[in-house]
Symmetry: C2
Subunit: 460 residues, 2 copies
């Protein structure tokens, strides 16, 4: 990134190289208890970068660093921190620093902070707020988790719908509590029902006497308080929204959601999908050992069960294997190829469902495609693996058996890789939970059964 002279982010030479994750300077300053040096290092940084540094160092260093940084610690850094670390850091802050930090924050960031904290820490935060902000925060917490009500901020600009551009500009020039960032002016009826919005660009480029109603944007969508945040984020992404109003059950304007909130939700959903597909729960890099062990345990437990099922299939054919031990050598290949092909199809399905590109309208076409692709790749690898098997064990029949099992398993892999997530989605379960585990169970069971079954019939 090229940084202009007045850039606030430059990592200077004896400062930090954030891109390479080199925090030596910070660690030195902490070790030397050198608060002055910490100020020097942090001064040019964006709060998001300071938060990253706090996340990447160990807990003891973090505690010492927060103490050294003292009263400079502000609400922006707190907003940027990962929730585990934030919980911890809030505990390190002196009450007056915490109070000052919280008063600085936008209403949506305060709510975000509160919802992650233990109840016991709530009063410290709420007491720091002025009465109206405190009531607003309590109100926001009464909305369902992951709803538009939790996501929105209460700071927005709304004007009567019969105003002109000039009236609006005059109001804004005298208003004292405009939001830090805003992109639209909302038009409301006397009952506070939003009826449209004007972009600031249109406002600036129109004459003073222009009626706002004549420069409204064509399209306008609002969200309900209890709308799911995932649906909100989807709409922002799909319709390229920058900000959108939130209305209560009577249709009255109560808040606004901005693009950065929507981006944060999309980011979390991507993370969730990726970790769930891998059966890794909701883990984060800053979780501790015990927490992480517990997060991973349930899916490993499910995997143990499904692996035992696959073993039971093998056990059926124990005598076959005893007669021809080459089967034990080759059987994991069939299972592994099926698992890999199934995972490929599954990733496409989970992604398509998350972006809502895979719907009732095309699911059958995609299932058909995946099955045919499985068949074609099955044929290709049947030939390859048949040849390898023949060279290795010198048996044409054995080569034929592994080739046939390969085709069967890759067809089933394509079918289940797309079918299982689609089915879960239809049942209202997050398709990412179909994860590797279920798909590979199917391909393991089918792979072992097809290979060992065919071998029993044809080779003994």
């Amino acid at each position: 990134m090229s940084d202009a002279p007045n850039d606030g982010f430059r990592d200077d030479e004896d400062g930090l190289d954030l891109e390479r994750g080199d925090l030596t300077q910070v660690l030195k300053a902490v070790e030397a208890q050198d608060a002055q040096r910490v100020f020097e290092l942090f001064d040019p940084l964006h709060p998001a970068d300071i938060a990253d540094i706090l996340e990447q160092i160990g807990a003891e260093t973090r505690r010492a660093l927060v103490h050294l940084y003292g009263t400079e610690f502000d609400g922006d850094i707190l907003s940027e921190l990962d929730e585990n670390i934030r919980d911890e850091v809030v505990g390190y802050l002196r009450p007056e620093v915490l109070a000052e930090a919280v008063r600085d924050m936008d209403s949506d960031d305060v709510v975000d902070l509160l919802e992650d904290l233990d109840e016991s820490q709530h009063s410290a935060i709420l007491d720091a707020l002025e009465a109206p902000d405190r009531d607003a925060a309590r109100q926001a917490l009464s909305y369902p988790e992951y709803s538009a009500g939790r996501l929105m901020q209460r700071e927005f600009v709304a004007v009567p719908e019969d105003w002109t551009v000039g009236q609006t500009i005059d109001m804004m020039r005298t208003a004292e509590d405009l939001p830090d960032q805003f992109y639209h002016v909302f038009l409301v009826t006397p009952q506070n029902l939003p009826t449209g919005y004007v972009t600031l660009g249109r406002l600036l480029s129109s004459k003073r006497e222009t009626a706002l109603l004549s420069i409204l944007e064509d399209s306008f969508r609002s969200f309900d308080l209890d709308e799911e945040e995932g649906d909100v984020a989807y709409a922002f992404n799909q319709y390229h929204l920058i900000s959108a109003p939130v209305v209560d059950t009577d249709g009255r304007l109560v808040g606004v959601i901005t693009i950065d909130d929507a981006m944060a939700v999309l980011d979390e959903e991507h993370e969730e999908d990726m970790l769930r597909m891998a059966g890794a729960g909701e883990g984060s890099l800053s979780d501790g050992v015990i927490e992480t062990t517990w997060q991973r345990l349930p899916w490993l437990g499910v995997n143990l069960l499904t692996a035992i099922i696959a073993s039971l299939v093998i056990a059926i054919f124990e005598t076959t294997i005893e007669t021809l031990v080459a089967l034990a050598v080759l059987m994991p290949i069939v299972a592994s190829m099926g698992g890999n092909a199934g995972t490929q199809s599954m990733a496409v399905a989970v992604r398509g469902l998350a972006t809502r590109d895979l719907t009732g309208a095309n699911v059958w076409r995609v299932i058909r495609r995946e099955t045919v692709v499985g068949f074609l790749n099955g044929m290709i690898f049947a030939v390859v693996m048949g040849a390898v098997g023949y060279v290795w064990f010198g048996s044409l029949m054995l080569a034929g058996v592994i080739a046939a099992a390969m085709v069967i398993n890759l067809v089933v892999a394509g079918l289940s890789g797309i079918g299982l997530p689609a089915l879960l989605d239809r049942l209202g379960v997050d398709p990412a939970l179909a994860s590797g585990t279920f798909v590979t169970t199917v391909t393991d069971v089918v792979g072992f059964f097809a290979f060992l079954g065919l071998a029993t019939i044809l080779l003994l």
Copy 2:
């Protein structure tokens, strides 16, 4: 979503239910060759939704639908289409419709369209543009793929840095070619070097005589033309940018990147990570059978090789298995548990590297954590599987062997799940390419070797 009266997106009752992917009405209209009905159905829809519909129907219906929609087909729909489908649809459009559509588009969308199309279709697009736009598009295509230069649009608002708010507003009221959407006014020197920016909100809320320099935003970052789009998107996400200037090698302002471009890049990167981790290449739901088969083939090939390696490990212990066939039954369990644990660690690593939360500063702490977590879960499942093994086969020694192998394999899984992606990243290779395949190779090989090796030593 609650839709206000003048909403442009409502799916009415005899219209479409896009959320459920019910396109029956569209299919009926196409079958009846009823252009009027198509207009009715599409009229209330956002171009992004029309693009989704085109993506979800079959190729023949798509061709018929594009013909029916005729001259209504515009540049916005074209911009929203997935690149495969766009390629196809461009071929269906009459030259004059295509020309009209392209003239409507922002410069970054034209470039996006051109870069995906075959060279042979370029001239049709370029000829449609007016000379300056054509030169601009050619210029943009000369920048490296996936660079800031390709991503930026050339429409922006810049004013001399010594202007006042009043001068800026007066200019905007008379300017004829303001961008459709813009969020900042950039300040430039007489040499066209950007020195800062003012948000439209600040502009609107300041008095006419205010100097722009006195209401500059604190921080300001610009991007170089050849900066990678991934770095641009990261900065937008990390620093909550809405728009940012792009400068040439002399530091002159040449374009602007907006948040929607950055969001699109992030979205693509998430998709890439997910598909790469699963070894599914760069596939999309709209790819054909042959294309998809080829995309999947390389990773299946790699997987075949690695599966054969695992088989060679088993082959070493053929005589052991011949003596005790229970080993063949149990060995996939050890391998499967290792594969699952390794995939969990890997997903956390790939995600952490993508979001730049996993860096040199904390990689050793995370590797240590994953190894300890592997050990703890290994111990837990060693006890469980040891008990299952004892009950199943009645041998305490066999139970001890599978328990020991489980601990070894889960420790290795934790280590390689985080270590392999981190190593690839250090080597400058996309860590998502570490994918299931490599990690599970390690856990398969280690699992089979530990289990069968211990069995050979202890049980024979």
